[in-house]
Amino acid sequence: MVINTEGLSFTFGKQQVVKSLALQVPEGSIYGFLGPNGAGKTTTIKLLLNLLKPDAGEIRVFGQDIKSHRIEILSQIGSLIEQPAIYQHLTGKENLLNRALLLGVSSQRVDDMLSLVQLTNAANKKAGQYSLGMKQRLGIALAMLANPKLLILDEPTNGLDPNGIIEIRELLKKLVAEHGKTVFISSHLLAEIERMATHVGIINGGAMLFQGSIADLHAISKPLVRVETENTVDAANLLTRNNYNVTEVTDQNLFVPYISKQQMGEINALLNKNGLAVYSIGKQQKDLEKLFLDITQNA
C-alpha cells in the first residue's frame, strides 16, 4: 500500500471533520476519493501531507510513518490542493523555476513540464493573467516537477474545459500505466472518477462509506430503468402487480432496477399493452447522491 491510514480523525473546533478513516491506496492505482463538498476530502488530503496534525490515528505513506519520516515522504509526493498555489507577480516559468530551485531540479525539467501541460507559449506571461484552466495546468506542472512517485490532486479538473479535462485524464492514465506512478485524486463527480479510477473511496460527513476497486463499486451502483409515461402512478401499480420492483415514482418518471435489455423491452410492451403510452424508456446510472443513500442503507 502506498497510503495506509488507521483510525485517522480530525476535529475543527467542535466539529469532527474526519472520522476514524482507514484509507488503503494500492501502488500503481488511480485512487478516486469521492465525496460531496464539505465531506472532509481536502482535510484528509492536508492530513496526508502533514499540513494538519491528526487528533488520532496513524498515517503511513510508502510504508513509513509521516510523523517520523516527513521529509523523506514529502520528497516523493507531488500535490495540488484546492486552488493552485501560484505567485501572481511571477511568470508561469518563474513559478516553476522557483520551485525547481527549492526541490533541486534542473531547469530542463521546467521546460519539459511546460510543454507537458502545454504552457510553453504562455511561459513568459505573468501567472496572474492566466485563465483558470491555465492556472490549474500550471498547478499540475508544479506538482509533477520533482517526478514524484505519488501524486495527490485535490479536484484537479476544477475550472477546466472539456478538452482540458480529457487531457488531464489521459495524462494521469499515462503516468500510471507507463511510469508506474500512483495517483490519489479527489472529486465530487462520480462520472469523472469512473472514467479513470481503478480504486474508489467514498467519504461523507468525514466517514468512509465505501472503499474498493471500481468493479466493486459497479456492483453496488446498479443502474436503473427510467420510464417516462403518461400516468406514472397507474404504470407503477401495473408494474408492481407484475412483480417489478418500482423504486421511485415522480410526476414524469418511474424507476425500476435495470437487469437487461430484454427486461426493458418487456416493460415497454407491458405498459403499451395496457394502454399506457410510454414517451421514453432508457437505462440510467445512479447519481452520486443515490449511490450514497444506497451505500449508507446497506451499511
Binding site: K46, L49, N50, L51, L52, K53, I71, E72, L74, S75, I77, S79, I81, E82, Q83, A85, I86, Y87, Q88, H89, L90, E94, L97, N98, R99, L101, L102, L103, G104, L142
Partner: protein, 266 residues
C-alpha cells in the same frame, strides 16, 4: 542547512520583482538624492560651516527622521511584504509540504527580512558618504572632504540595525499570523507612536519597549555636552536598549518557530 540556503535563495527569487525588495534600495537612494539637492541649492548658507558640522548636519538630517519614523515604518512594511507574498498567493501550504524542514522555511523568511533591513541601512551609510563626497566635488566650497566620519556613520547605522531587530521580530510574527495588512500595520503604527513618545519624554523604562529602540539609539549614542566636539562623536553601540532589542528578537523568533511548527494550514 541546505534547506535554509535553498529557501533563502527562493525568497530572493520571489521578491526581486516586488515593492518590498525595491523599497530597500529606493528608500536610501531617494532620501540621499533629496538631501543632496537640498544641500546643493542652499550651499551659500552652508559655506561658513566647518566640515565636521557640515557632515553632522548632512547625516543628522536623515538620522533625525530615521529613528522616529522612517525605520519603524519601513520595518513594518518589510515584515508584511515578505509574508504577504505567501498570503496573497495562498502558498503557505506548498511551502510547508516541500521536502524541507519547516524551521528552514521559517528561518529563511525571517533572515531574508533581516537581510533586507540590513541592506537598506548599509545603503544609507553608503549613500550618505557617497553624496557627501559628491557635494565636495560639485561644490568645492562645501568642504566635506576635510572631515571623515565613515566609521562613526557605520557604527550609528549598525546600532540602528541592532535596535530595529526587536520590532522586526514582533512585526514579522504579526504578519505571519494575519493575512491582512491593517492588523500588523495598525498595531505597529500605534506602538511606534507610543515608542517615540516614551523615548522622547525620556521615560526611564523606555529601553524595555522595542518600538522605542530606534529613537533611543539616536538619542543615547551621543555624549552630549561633554567637552570637545571630537569626544561627542564617541558612539556607544552596545547600550542596554540594544541588548533588550536583541533579547526580544531572539525570544520572539524562537516563539514564532514553535507557532509555525504547530501552525495548521487551513
Amino acid at each position: 542547512m541546505k534547506g535554509f540556503i535553498l529557501s533563502f535563495r527562493s525568497e530572493f527569487y520571489k521578491s526581486r520583482k516586488t515593492l518590498g525588495f525595491w523599497a530597500s534600495i529606493m528608500l536610501p537612494l531617494l532620501i540621499g538624492v533629496l538631501l543632496f539637492v537640498g544641500f546643493y541649492s542652499k550651499s551659500e548658507k552652508l559655506v561658513s560651516f566647518p566640515p565636521m558640522v557640515l557632515w553632522l548636519q548632512f547625516a543628522g538630517a536623515i538620522l533625525g527622521i530615521m529613528g522616529s519614523l522612517v525605520l519603524p515604518m519601513y520595518i513594518i512594511f518589510i515584515a508584511y511584504s515578505v509574508n504577504s507574498i505567501e498570503h496573497r498567493a495562498d502558498t503557505w501550504k506548498t511551502l510547508f509540504n516541500l521536502p524541507i524542514p519547516r524551521w528552514s522555511v521559517y528561518a529563511a523568511k525571517y533572515f531574508y527580512a533581516v537581510f533586507l533591513v540590513f541592506t537598506c541601512l548599509a545603503l544609507f551609510v553608503l549613500f550618505t558618504i557617497g553624496f557627501g563626497n559628491l557635494l565636495s566635488v560639485v561644490k568645492p566650497e562645501l568642504r566635506f572632504d576635510n572631515f571623515h566620519m565613515e566609521k562613526e556613520l557605520a557604527e550609528i547605522y549598525f546600532k540602528l540595525f541592532l535596535s530595529s531587530l526587536g520590532i522586526l521580530s514582533i512585526q514579522f510574527l504579526l504578519s505571519l499570523l494575519w493575512a491582512d495588512f491593517l492588523k500588523p500595520m495598525g498595531i505597529g503604527f500605534v506602538c511606534t507612536i507610543t515608542g517615540v513618545i516614551l523615548a522622547s519624554k525620556g521615560w526611564e523604562y523606555a529601553y524595555l519597549f522595542p518600538y522605542s529602540h530606534p529613537m533611543e539609539a539616536i538619542t543615547t549614542m551621543m555624549h552630549r555636552g561633554e567637552g570637545s566636539p571630537a569626544k561627542q562623536l564617541q558612539i556607544d553601540v552596545f547600550t542596554k536598549d540594544v541588548f533588550v532589542s536583541l533579547g526580544v528578537a531572539v525570544v520572539v523568533f524562537v516563539a514564532g518557530y514553535f507557532i509555525v511548527q504547530r501552525k495548521s494550514v487551513k
